[in-house]
Every structure is written in C-alpha cells, then in structure tokens.
C-alpha cells in the first residue's frame, strides 16, 4: 500500500458469548481502540465469527472505505481464515488484516478483569499499529500429489487404506510387523456383539493384499519424510525378510523342514505362550501369507553354517533368499495417514499385583490368546498347574486412571474385560469377579453388554484392588491368590481368594511415538498420543497439513471408533486430493536486491537451501517456492536487506511498541 494513502482501520472485539466478555471488558477495549491512530470504526460484538459478525466487517469496509481490519477474538490458529475471507468479501486484500488473541491468551487464562482488559488493550494497540504496515499479498497455490501413505496396518490403517483405494487412489500401506492386522488379530471375539474377530478382520486383510490400488509393504518402516502438504517425499525402509513374499505360497514346508526339529523360540504373537522356529508365519491368517526368517535365530544368518534344509524344501519355488538385504525405497505422496496404534501397559510396573511373580496372574491380552481357538492351547483355559480355574478375578484400570502411571482411562478395558469374563464363564463355569472403579460402557449396545454380563452371573465388586498376594491368613486361602480390596459399595475391606487373576492392562502410546512424531513433524500430547488439531472440530487432522491420524495412536479407543476415525482420515485426505491444490500462507522471505551486499551470511542458515548466490549480480536471492517462511535469514541479515511477508521487521517493532502500551 503506498505511503500517501491514509490508513483507515476497522476494529472489532468479540465477546465470544461470555467466553471473553466475562473477563475482558469488551466495550472498554472498543472505546480504547477508537482513540488509536487510523481507527475509523471500532465495535464490539457478541460472535464475530458468526455470519452477522463477518457481515459487519464486509459492510464497514464498503461503508467506511476501510483499508485495514483488526479483529480481537480467539486464536488466529482457529479463525484467521474466517476473518481473512470476510475481509476479502469486502473487496479488500485479505492480508490487510490482523487478528488479536484475547481468548486463549487472555480471557481464558486470567481472572483479574482490570489486568485482563489492560492486556487486551495492549495487544490491540500492537495489532492496530502493525496492520498499518501490512501490504496486499497473494497466497500461492501448491499442487497435491494424489498418492497417499498409510503408516500402520492395524484395523485403523487397513480401513483407511481400503477406503482410499476404493475411491481410486493409490495407497502405500507400511506395516512394521511381518503381517498386517495389529492388535485385533490377536483377539478371540469382539465386544459388544461377540462376533469372531478373525471372521470380520480376515476378509479386510485379504482385500488389502489383493487390491490393485494398494502397495502393501509389511516388515517395513518409515525412515524419513521430507517436503510439505501435497508434496511429500518418503523414504521407507524394507527390512530383509529372507523370503520373497511374491514367490512364497505359504505352504509351510520350509518351516517343517527347518533344521530346528522343534520350535524353541517364544512366539510374540502368542506373547511367548507358545514357541516358533527361526522361519515362521506369524499366525494362520497372516497377510501376506509368507514365511519370515528371524535373523537373530536362523543358524545360517547367524553363523553361515546351516544345511539350509528350508531352501531345499522350498525347491523350485525358490522363495527363500538368504542373501536378501534391507532396502530403502523412496516414494512421493501428497498426504499421510498415521495409524500406528498403541502398546499395552507393562503390568510389572505395579509390583503389588504380582505379575511376573505369580504364574497365574496374567494380562487380558494373554487371556485373549488363551481362549482363542487358534491360540497356544487351542482355546482351552487352564491354570499353569494344568487344572481348570474355579475362581477368576479381573482387575480393571491396571496402569490406567492413575497419576503414578497413566492418567487416562484406556476406554476399552472395562468392555473387553466383560467380554473375557463372559467367555471364561461360558467355557469354564468358573466364578468370575470383576473388580472395577467405574464401569465405562458408553457405546452403542455397551450398557446392554454390561447387563448381559450381570445376567450371566459375573460378580462386580466396586473397588480398586490394593494387592494380590499368596499370603494365606486362613486355610481357605492356602494355595490361592488372595486379593485385598475394599468393596466400596458394601463399605468394608474384603480378602478374596482366587486361582486366576487377570489384569486389564491399559493402552499406552507406542514406544517410538516420539520418533514417529519427529519423522512426521506432528505434535504429541504430554502423554505421548499424537495430537489432533482440535479435540472436537478437527479430530483426525494434525498441526501439519496433509498429515492425518486415526485409531489408537491418537488415544485409546475401541474398534468401532478406530474405524470411524480411519474413515474420517481417509475422507480428509480425499478432500485434499480432490481440491487439486492447497493455498499456502504467503509468509515467504525475499531479498531486496539493491540493498543486499552479497555478504552470503544468510545462505548457510536456510534450512531448505532456498537462498542462492547470483554470481552475476553478486547478490543473494531467495527462491519463493522453496522458502517456507521461518524468517531465520531475516533475523540474521546483518544489513537488514531481507524482508518477510506478514512478519516484516517494522511490523514486529510496531508490535513490540504496542504491547508495551500500558494503558
């Protein structure tokens, strides 16, 4: 905007219902703003972001010939776009606008009305001074690469991948384990309908394998992500499987032929309750149906001195390749869906429950495997002594809802404990007691499921178990595991002898969540769950455009919610792709050629190598397509020759002066 045109600013302060006006005196702020240089209109209004609020801005621009607009309301991260659009609707360049955050940074964090109002006024003064220097800018539009990467092949990742693939988009599904399926593959049945987990999961897993639009990379990890929304370059590390999954038909002949005659290594899928050989197929329904060789256990891979009977057995199919090497593959995608799931709380962290000390204390996931017909015992539930249990207790909230471990409710353990309680009752007729703090059954059909558990004779004792021990104070306790718990509803402490104690361990973020977050440039909540952009309004988006989250990596949830989120994330990715392009904030830096001395100080500081040296002119230049607007070079140029749109030096100096305006 040329210097001679006089500044005509419109100022608006929002009450946000009562959110702001309860703490900040909005009328006083409006009155104050009206005294500031260049302000032509100053108003306060109940909801600035509503249509009438936006209309107010548009009208005023036309009526009062405004050429600058300032809105004091919530965080610009929330509504800056809304108001820029309103400004544009008034025929003004949308960047001749500045927003003041007096809700998140003021009304919501202060109680003293006078101090909060003074703070609002200072912030407003800063914005009004700053906006006078704003120039009209043009947002640039970046194209979107239509391919999508899905990280994690649990139920959430599978569903997201299928949704996108069915919509005709090419999807790369990257799963760390040798098979997709995630935790759900380990379950026997699923609440609240008690349908067989395998029956509903396996068809989806096969569909992934056979879908023409899905590239499935199991036993793989994302090593590196470069670029930005619409234009990511991803490096995927494919670990050596030593079996070519396209040649392997899953006949298992190699496994039978392996020089290890009996399986002797703990099988992680069954949590070590059964054994496997160095060459194995993770579980019967695994996708891909292809063997894997564990390099830490295979004699050939460890010592090079094996008869390689597996290779012989595979014969002409030649699927086994003991020379396979890890591969790094680079792909280009426009958006990324993260569905890396959760890990379970380690029950050893609560020694009072005796997990790892008493053999008949186990976790719910172990019980899932034990009652599963494909599990280590073929679905028969036995104590370690071999006898069937007669009294089984479930301890809920193990590691969850506890300030010492995990503060959150894990959301599924009430329900899956009731599921397992019903199964145990059905299969063994044992007396089953569930020790709980609160039963959380808020889903559709869940309360009914609770009722069914009660009807089936599952006992419920409300109290957080204090201790599991084998100290017997009376003969009927001898040889049993004794639980000490207050029956809080009855109002006394009880000792309950049991022969099987099941710990409903809660969900935790994956161990490598921080690393993933870094690779994908996301944020984590303090606990380590991936952080959504807004807990209500943008639950599957992240602060990084083009990166979405689904399933338990965002927080504990059950299968229906995981699938709902996966669908939502897929829809967000589709919306992005089909929009064809994305507007980018024009906050790039630029060098004023006539001022630059060519000192080159800035060049090495740019993280994106956006600055180069023009040898002919002997000046530095910034490539606006590469600059992402961090401003590091601007802060460094020793002669002040670099500008940055939206964050010019003078604009910031004005802001500093303004915030120090103590009224």
């Amino acid at each position: 905007m040329s210097n001679d045109e006089s500044i005509r600013t419109g100022f608006y302060v929002c009450h946000c219902g009562h959110n702001i006006s309860d703490v900040v005196d909005c009328t006083a702020v409006a009155r104050y703003a009206s005294t500031l240089a260049g302000v032509m209109v100053s108003r306060d209004y109940k909801y600035m972001c509503s249509s009438p609020g936006q209309e107010l801005i548009r009208q005023d621009i036309l009526e009062h010939k405004l050429n600058r607009v300032v809105v004091a309301s919530c965080s610009p991260l929330l509504h800056e776009h809304t108001f820029r659009n309103a400004v544009a609707a008034g025929g003004l360049n949308p960047f001749l606008f500045q927003m003041v955050n007096i809700r998140e940074h003021d009304a919501w964090v202060h109680a003293d009305r006078a101090a909060a109002t003074a703070k609002a006024q200072a912030l407003v003064s800063a914005a009004i001074r700053r906006v006078a220097l704003h120039k009209p800018l043009q947002a640039t539009r970046a194209p979107i690469h239509p391919d999508v990467l899905v990280v994690g092949g649990g139920i959430a990742g599978i569903h997201a991948a299928l949704t996108l693939a069915n919509a005709g988009k090419k999807v790369y599904l990257v799963e760390r384990q040798p098979s997709i399926g995630g935790h759900m593959a380990q379950f026997d049945k699923t609440f609240p309908t008690l349908d067989c987990a395998a029956c509903i999961l396996t068809p989806k897993m096969s569909a992934v394998r056979s879908h023409k639009n899905i590239v499935l990379w199991t036993y793989s990890e994302v090593a590196k992500v470069d670029g930005y929304v619409g234009n990511y370059t991803v490096t995927v590390r494919r670990k050596a499987r030593y079996v070519d999954e396209n040649l392997c038909v899953g006949c298992q002949e190699c496994i039978d032929a392996c020089v290890f005659k009996v399986p002797k290594f703990p099988d992680p899928f069954n949590l070590g309750m059964s054994m496997q050989k160095p060459i194995y197929i993770p579980f019967p329904q695994a996708v891909p149906q292809a063997a894997v060789i564990d390099p830490d256990r295979c004699i050939q891979l460890k010592t090079g001195k094996c008869k390689k009977t597996c290779v012989e057995a595979c014969a002409d199919r030649k699927a086994i390749n003991l020379n396979q090497k890890e591969q790094l593959l680079e792909i280009k995608v426009g958006s990324i869906i993260t569905a890396t799931g959760f890990k379970l709380f380690d029950a050893k962290r609560l020694p009072e429950y005796g997990y790892g000390r008493y053999p008949d204390v186990m976790t719910t996931i172990e019980l899932e495997r034990l009652v599963s017909s494909s599990g280590p015992t073929g679905g028969e539930l036995r104590l370690r002594s071999g006898k069937p249990p007669t009294a089984v207790g479930f301890i809920l909230c193990v590691g969850s809802r506890d300030m010492r471990t995990n503060r959150w409710c894990s959301r599924t353990c009430c329900m899956h404990s009731m599921k397992l309680a019903q199964i145990v009752r059905e299969r063994t007729g044992a007396q089953v007691t569930v020790f709980y703090i609160d039963i959380r059954a808020p889903g559709k059909g869940y309360e009914e499921f609770y009722d069914r558990s009660l009807q089936q004779g599952v006992q419920f004792v409300r109290g957080r178990v204090a201790e599991v021990s084998d100290c017997a104070l009376s003969p009927d306790e001898a040889g049993k595991l004794v639980i000490r718990v207050e029956d809080t509803l009855a109002g006394f402490v009880r000792r309950v002898p049991l022969d099987l104690v099941v710990l409903a361990v809660g969900m935790e973020p994956q161990a490598d969540a921080q690393e993933m977050r870094r690779i994908l440039n996301m944020s984590c909540s303090a606990e380590g769950w991936f952080l959504e952009k807004h807990p209500k309004m943008a639950p599957v988006s992240t602060f990084t455009d083009g990166v979405f989250i689904a399933g338990c990596c965002q927080g504990p949830k059950d299968i229906p919610d995981s699938i709902a989120q996966a669908g939502a994330a897929a829809a967000e990715a589709l919306a992005l792709i089909d929009a064809g392009g994305i507007d980018q904030e024009p906050n790039t830096a630029y060098i004023r050629g006539e001022e630059c001395s060519g000192c080159k100080s800035c060049i090495s500081l740019c993280p994106y190598a956006a600055i180069s040296f023009d040898a002919e002119k002997q000046k530095a230049v910034i490539n606006p397509a590469l600059c992402k607007g961090c401003g590091t070079c601007v802060a460094s140029c020793p002669s002040g020759s670099i500008g940055q749109n939206l964050f010019e030096d003078q604009e910031v100096f004005e802001e500093i002066n303004g915030v120090l305006d103590y009224v």
Partner: protein, 172 residues
C-alpha cells in the same frame, strides 16, 4: 514509575508451531497465570532478531521471554538451535550492559505443554518481580535530565520514535 504500582512487563516471542500453540492449549485448558506477559507470534524462534529483544527492553519491558520448539522438534529443522546460539551471546552482551541475565529467558515448550506455559510465565513474572523494574526508558529520561537546560532540541534514539521516521534517518 513508582515502585508501589509497578507490575512486571514482559514481552514474549513465541514460535507459531510449538510455544504459541502451547499457549493456546493453556487457554483451552483454562490454566490461570499471571497477566504480565504479552505474546508476539513469529513463525519460528529463528525469526527472533536480537534487535527485537533489545528493542523490547529499550521500550520498557522488564523482561523478555523466548519460546520455541524443543531441540530436534523445530518445524523448520533447526531454527531453534540458531536462536539458542544467539541467546547465549545476547546473555553475555546484556551482562556487559548491566542487564541481569535472568531478565531474558529462553524456554523450549512443545505444543502439548500447556501447563508448562503457565509455569514458565508464572516463574518468569516472579523472577522479574524479584529483580524489580528495569525501566530503561525511565533511565534514559533520568539520565538525560542533566542536558535539558543546554539543549535546544533533543531527540532520543529509542526505537519508539525512530520507527516512524522516514527510513533515511540513520541510527536508532
């Protein structure tokens, strides 16, 4: 400025991705903290020109708070490291200029650390309260009172005044 009514004035420069977002989260979580800090948003802590820090102090801030993403988490890879190096040097410069190092503080606060925003701001306000007013404008005025009688026109190079003069005037 009378000591009785004095309240610490702190200017904060927060990066948009981590610390500013964390301050938003502190708001959403309704953490109450002292109202003495005024936050200025920049895209990256790497945008913080040491001039901004000095300007804030020269304009009357009693302290400056710099917030950025944790090392390794910078949205722009390493802007925060550049800030950190500048910060170490600024502290030495300020020490030589008689400004206690505690008046300028750098903190890494990630987007999820809303509670940390509260703690850091409260601590900072208490620290500045303990140090008392810096009041550089007041010091300028007090110092310059010695020349008032002989000068016919006095213009002082606080950036409060220099920013709005035509760019061709040097210094400030």
């Amino acid at each position: 400025m009378s000591d009785m009514n004095w309240q610490p004035r702190i200017v904060a420069f927060f990066c948009s991705w981590c610390t500013y977002t964390a301050a938003d989260l502190a708001g959403v979580s309704r953490f109450r903290y002292a109202p003495n800090v005024r936050i200025i948003r920049l895209m990256c802590s790497g945008r913080i020109d040491p001039q901004f820090v000095l300007c804030a102090l020269a304009d009357g801030a009693d302290g400056v708070l710099i917030g950025g993403c944790h090392p390794g988490d910078c949205h722009y890879a390493e802007g925060n490291f550049k800030t950190f190096r500048r910060y170490r040097m600024i502290l030495r410069l300020l020490a030589d200029m008689g400004v206690a190092g505690d008046r300028v503080r750098l903190e890494w606060i990630s987007a999820s650390e809303g509670e940390r925003v509260k703690t850091v701001i409260n601590e900072m306000v208490e620290r500045i309260r303990a140090l008392g007013p810096l009041d550089i404008p007041g010091r300028f005025a007090a110092c310059d009172s010695e020349i008032l009688e002989s000068a016919d026109a006095i213009r002082l190079p606080q950036c409060k005044e220099t920013h709005d003069v035509v760019p061709e005037v040097v210094h400030g």
